[in-house]
Symmetry: C2
Subunit: 204 residues, 2 copies
């Protein structure tokens, strides 16, 4: 039996650049992750291909998928549905491949209920290092600006509580490196390797 | 105040290639780890420099270091003492730098008592993948050989219990990549990043 793959969930506050990081990650030639294509009811944009960018569905089809529990997570944005088909995720994990999801924060919380063993990566804006700079430059910055940044950092801190890792998106390339390192490291976790050993020893 | 560095301990069964992996790791130009130089009572070999390869000490000096609790871990091999000076480790961690130790299994257990928060990486021989191959080729291999491999795997499994990560030393370059990934990933762990956020927010 194949060892089950890892489910990696990238999420974070809106506008942080999740899509940009995901695209950069999957444009790398050596990437070993399987991207789970979302289902949507929005119309394809020019150049978008069904089954590559999205699975395009009607509202009726999508609502049927919801009723039949075919979606791992879903949400409605500006009048359109977006969701993750559970069968692809489950099948690919069973094949021993790592699956990558890039979804909204609410979706990530839904995934956690079904796959508590998944890796949850919070993509954070570079506000912390910016904040540090601003505090260091105190006097040359307005107190209002510093207060806004501190408020944003407080909100991020609360959000990240449900995640295993936090990757700061200060540079897209660096964020990709960190995500790949997390996946590689998780494959080396003793519990996982020991399980492989145990399975092998049971052969005897 | 600087954030404390990580203490990374590489260990594993003797003969697995710990020294080779450590040398390959530190020959990389981008390496951010600080290597903790060991103290020894053995004579310098040709080309070895005091303070670079080892700190060379007399038995009297070494035994005094033991008595004065100046060693994080130590052991005696074939008539010579080897040990890790605790002051360098502690000072470097306080400076916010990651410290790397490459030590024997017994030494690693000593380090765990003093620094339970350290990262313990077990370097494993490629016996598991070899074992897999041998089992797959059953019929062409002697049963004795398979039995020996299974016994070795059982012993490794027991040893690795006290470690956080297991890195298979199938290829030295790949083992180095895995170790670097583990260090990078550990810096992204939510608990650590959240602590940075909290410290920053206390500034206010």
């Amino acid at each position: 039996m194949k060892e089950r793959g890892l489910l990696i969930v990238l999420s974070g506050p809106s506008g942080v650049g999740k899509g940009t990081v995901r695209k950069a990650l999957f444009s790398q030639p050596d990437i070993q992750l399987q991207y789970s294509i979302s289902v949507t009811t929005r119309k394809p944009r020019e150049g978008e291909v069904d089954g590559v960018d999205y699975f395009f569905k009607t509202r009726e089809q999508f609502e049927q998928m919801i009723r039949q529990n075919e979606l791992l997570e879903w949400a409605e944005y500006v009048g359109n549905y977006y969701g993750t088909p559970i069968d692809y995720v489950e099948k690919t994990l069973q094949e021993g491949k790592d699956v990558f999801l890039e979804i909204e924060v609410q979706g990530a919380m839904q995934v956690r209920k079904v796959f508590p063993e998944a890796l949850f990566i919070f993509l954070a804006p570079p506000s912390l290092s910016e904040l540090r700079k601003r505090i260091e430059m105190r006097g040359t910055e307005s107190e209002d600006l510093i207060r806004d940044r501190l408020q944003a950092a407080k909100e991020e801190l609360e959000m990240m509580d449900a995640y295993d890792y936090v990757v700061e998106n200060d540079q897209v390339e660096l964020a990709c490196e960190r995500i790949k390192a997390i996946v590689m490291a998780e494959h080396c976790r003793r519990e996982r390797v020991a399980q492989r050993y145990k399975k092998m020893l049971e052969v005897e």
